[in-house]
Subunit: 153 residues, 2 copies
DNA sequence: AGTTTAGCCTATCGGTTTAATAGGGTTATG
DNA sequence: CATAACCCTATTAAACCGATAGGCTAAACT
C-alpha cells in the first residue's frame, strides 16, 4: 500500500496540472482545496521541486507550478521519488538494485524470477502513464458519469 | 518492498515443498538451514498453519509439513496472508476493499483507474504462480547454471 | 530601504509497524 | 509419565509514518 505522502503528492500534481500555465499556486490554497495538512504538503512539494518535477517562485505572487508539461511527468518517476523503488524485492530493482542479504544464490532463486515479472509489470504501467494520461482518464470517467446520470434522470 | 517475514515464509515453504511427503520437519532444522531466527519462524509457520497452508504434528517425531500439494499453494494466497492486500490503494483491492478517506469521487478518480491496472497485473502473476511453479523455475535455472559452468570449465 | 509575503529548512513528536526475543503452556508420542 | 515439540501471549528496540513547530531566506511591492 502506498503512503499518504505519495497520495498527497499525486493529488497536488493533478491540481497543479489543471492550473498549468496559470501562474504559481499557493501552498495554502492547494492545502485547503485538497484537504492536505499545509506543513506536510510543504515537505512534499519541496522534494518534488528538488527533483525537477515542480518549480517555485518565492515572495509575493509566488507559489508552485509544474516544471514541465503533464505529458512529460511519469507516474513511475513521481512514485519512486516518494515511495522508493517499485520492485517488491531489492534484487530485481532496476533503479536501486541491492542484494537480498538472506539469498544464497541469486541466479537460481525462483522467488526472484517471479518477483522480476511483478516488477516489470508494475513498471510498465507506472512508467507508461503520464500526468496527462491520468487527467484524461479522469475527464473521460466524468463524461461517462454525466451520461449515466442523464440517462437515469 | 515485501517484509522479511514474508521472505522467510516463502523460503520455508520452498524448503518444505522439497521435503514434501517425507514426514514432518522440525522448526529447529528449518531455522538452522535457512538461517531464520527460530522463534520468529515459529510465528510465521503458525499463521501459515492457521490458514490451511501447513499442517503440524506435536510431540516427539513431530514437526511441520505442507497441508496440500505444491501445485495447490498459490503465491498470491501466501503473500496476502503475511503482507496484506496486493493492491497499492485500498479502493482497488478485491479481497479487502476499503474507501480511500481522502477521495472525493471514487468513480472518476484517475489515480484509482491506473492503480486498478497495477493491482490486476500483480494479482495475475502472483495468483497464477504456485509453489510448484517456483520450484520448477529454480530447478530450470540451476540446470542452466550447470550448463554454463560445464561450458566454461 | 524596509516590510511583507511565501517558500526553505531542520528538528521534534506521538503512534504504528517491523523484527526479534522471552517465557512459559499444551499436547502427543515413546 | 516424561519429554519432545508445537502453541500462545507479551515485550522490546529500532525504524518508519504522519504531522507539527519554529525560525530562516529570498523575492517583490511600496
Amino acid at each position: 500500500m502506498i503512503s499518504k505522502k505519495t497520495k498527497y503528492a499525486l493529488k497536488a500534481l493533478i491540481y497543479l496540472a489543471r492550473e498549468f500555465d496559470k501562474g504559481p499556486i499557493l501552498i495554502a490554497d492547494l492545502a485547503r482545496d485538497e484537504r492536505i495538512p499545509k506543513k506536510f504538503l510543504e515537505l512534499i512539494l519541496l522534494t518534488l521541486k528538488n527533483n525537477g518535477i515542480l518549480q517555485s517562485r518565492k515572495g509575493k505572487g509566488g507559489g508552485y507550478y509544474l516544471g514541465k508539461s503533464p505529458k512529460e511527468i511519469s507516474m513511475g518517476n513521481v512514485i519512486r521519488l516518494l515511495e522508493g523503488p517499485l520492485a517488491p524485492v531489492p534484487c530485481v530493482s532496476e533503479t536501486a538494485y541491492a542484494k537480498c542479504e538472506e539469498c544464497l544464490d541469486e541466479r537460481t532463486c525462483g522467488i526472484r524470477l517471479m518477483m522480476k515479472d511483478v516488477r516489470d509489470a508494475i513498471a510498465k504501467i507506472l512508467d507508461g502513464t503520464t500526468l496527462a494520461d491520468v487527467l484524461e482518464r479522469t475527464a473521460r470517467a466524468e463524461q461517462q458519469e454525466k451520461g449515466v446520470l442523464h440517462y437515469y434522470i
